[in-house]
Symmetry: C2
């Protein structure tokens, strides 16, 4: 029996609702596999916890989480708790504390997913965006001077270290090579005259070690245009923390919306647990109504399976999502349907059972 | 006779080709008006000038330009001349030197323009993005420490001054009020914990003076999603230099591409000349072939007319562009046609002559 310890943080708003479906899917995968099991430990952290205890997680929260291979997170944030608490003391604390410097966001138009674009073939959108996830624009460095005076000035400093920049770019070249895909770097050296000049330089330097990987570079403004007009240009994409944040939400908008967008926060060295989350928020406006789309959470579960080495199961889950969207047409309201969160989750499970397990070419 | 002195910088690549059409349109407008004339002075600055003289413009270039009411610019940049020269010593030098702190970019789906989105009505995309154009992320401030050492670190500092932030936000409220539209601020305070917290604060403070203007705020990542999925949410938009850069290219992609995207760099106090430019680049790959799309340059000319107080002429030019795209279907290759730059320009002129002049409700 292969057993995996997973920390589950359902979080706020719709978080618990969508995570429940993801857990159900993971348990069914385990049952179908027969030799796989998950030990889930639940952590009730988030904004409700904060309102009771004055903190977003236990003081030794990171210690507790570090006992696990991975973290499965729903959503964090609730009206009334300011972002600098809800995010910086939970989501961003985990990303940074566990050196999850790789943020993996697949932008793939699944079969049956509603595409916003007029003239794109399904094959046309299939990229993996690798976002730097630990420093850069989100380093949190800055200053606020002469507050309230006419000369008041606020500084926000992006911090791009050699180590941080090199490791994300190296990871991306490795990934592109492994997948046999091209690698595109997205930056903005013509205006960000320190950070992005450096980024481009590192991209080129590291690239010399990967002469077999075809590369290209785009300015972030041009890239945002080509995401819409010619998304087929992009395969594996590497970019900074902020640009990745913007471009992956844009990408998500193209391939079905946030209801279908998953993100993995990876510590590639596996020194610390990695974290898997739908990239949508806690959506307080629809929380508790049982209508949140669980597919992003289910897709995250598929990324978790990949990460644990079960790529064939990861692919089955994606295939099941596609079945639900094509044959079943079981959609929550955000995707134009009337199904409940639970019904969509159940449909995924049914599709999984109906599927011939797809065996990975790599794993046999 | 109302005479206006305009400096023309055709610039590099396709710049001169598209500017020629814009000038033609302006001259026809003047002829149709009868009481209006333009004095164009040409400045041969740009990368070719640089290759001969070692500088992008004359040393007293800004002085020379300051003799004019406005600048009409084609495009800057050519392979071989690094960006920090071609842009920082011409385009950005003018924007900054003339305190053109307002960058006005209409994102409007004109009639006949090819829209990339599936389910959007023409009325659905009609926004005016106001981009901060003088400081912020593009301040050029930063440092590069421990070069070549393992501890190497590169800093890029966004600079948001009270004065700079307040004036762009105030300008935007004024504009929204004048147009009777809502105002949306786009920022990212949950991650950029100094600059964008400040931005949001100023947006709220200044807003207290404009209780009649409906407002909303978006995170930049969410905004990039809603630009695609529900662009009708946005009317007047104010955002930072970098976010404006990214979002307006994204917006341009939705409403016909860069071939149709204009930008005005405004010094509202009219202490210095304002500058009007298509936002596309010099496109060296198609330069000299007479196939560049002049419509963005023509749209910029329409913005120039607005700025000079001839909004009715500005609207006629837009109407003429629409006629060319609907009745005429005269398109350059980027928009799927076979027309030349010149043919499109001529079609605009013909449409102008055919039009009943549209009189502005404001100007009678
Ligand atoms: C919640 C926020 C800080 C976060 C980010 O910007 O990284 C989110 O938008 C994301 O993309 O995961
Ligand atoms: C050329 C470049 C510096 C410029 C910018 O980023 O401002 C351009 O992209 C624009 O949007 O006008």
């Amino acid at each position: 029996m292969n057993s995996h310890r997973i920390a589950v943080i359902p979080g706020d708003g719709i978080g618990p609702e969508v995570i429940a479906q993801g857990i159900k899917v993971l348990n069914h995968i385990a049952a179908l596999d027969g030799k796989l099991q998950f030990e889930f430990t639940y952590y009730p952290w988030g904004c409700e916890f904060y309102s009771k205890h004055g903190r977003m997680m236990d003081d030794d929260g990171l210690d507790q989480l570090s006992q696990h291979e991975a973290i499965y997170l729903g959503a964090v944030g609730y009206p009334g708790v300011p972002d600098h608490i809800s995010l910086w003391e939970l989501l961003l604390k985990i990303r940074k504390g566990f050196d999850q410097y790789v943020n993996l966001r697949p932008i793939t138009l699944l079969e049956g997913a509603p595409c916003s674009l007029k003239e794109v073939t399904r094959e046309g959108i299939d990229m993996l965006v690798i976002r730097e996830n630990s420093e850069g624009e989100y380093a949190g460095a800055g200053d606020w001077l002469f507050k309230g005076k006419p000369e008041e000035v606020v500084l926000q400093t992006g911090v791009f270290s050699r180590m941080g920049t090199e490791r994300i770019i190296r990871y991306s070249y490795e990934t592109a090579r492994r997948l046999g895909r091209s690698l595109t770097s997205i930056s903005k050296a013509n205006a960000l005259n320190y950070s992005m000049v450096f980024w481009d330089q590192v991209f080129e330097e590291v690239g010399r070690e990967y002469p077999d990987v075809p590369t290209s570079s785009y300015l972030v403004d041009a890239a945002s245009m080509f995401f819409v007009r010619e998304p087929e240009r992009f395969e594996v994409v590497v970019t900074s923390n902020l640009f990745g944040d913007i471009l992956t939400d844009l990408g998500a908008a193209l391939v079905g919306g946030l209801g279908l967008a998953a993100g993995a926060n990876i510590n590639p060295e596996r020194k610390y647990p990695s974290m898997f989350e739908p990239i949508h928020g806690s959506a307080p406006d629809i929380a508790g109504r049982g209508i949140a789309n669980p597919l992003a959470a289910v897709w995250s579960a598929s990324q978790l399976l990949d990460f644990l080495g079960y790529e064939h199961h990861g692919r089955s889950v994606l295939k099941a999502i596609e079945t639900v969207m094509t044959d079943g047409k079981v959609f929550t309201p955000d995707m134009g349907g009337r199904a409940s969160t639970e019904q969509v989750g159940n449909a995924v499970v049914e599709a999984l059972h109906a599927l011939q397990p797809i065996h990975s070419p790599w794993k046999g």
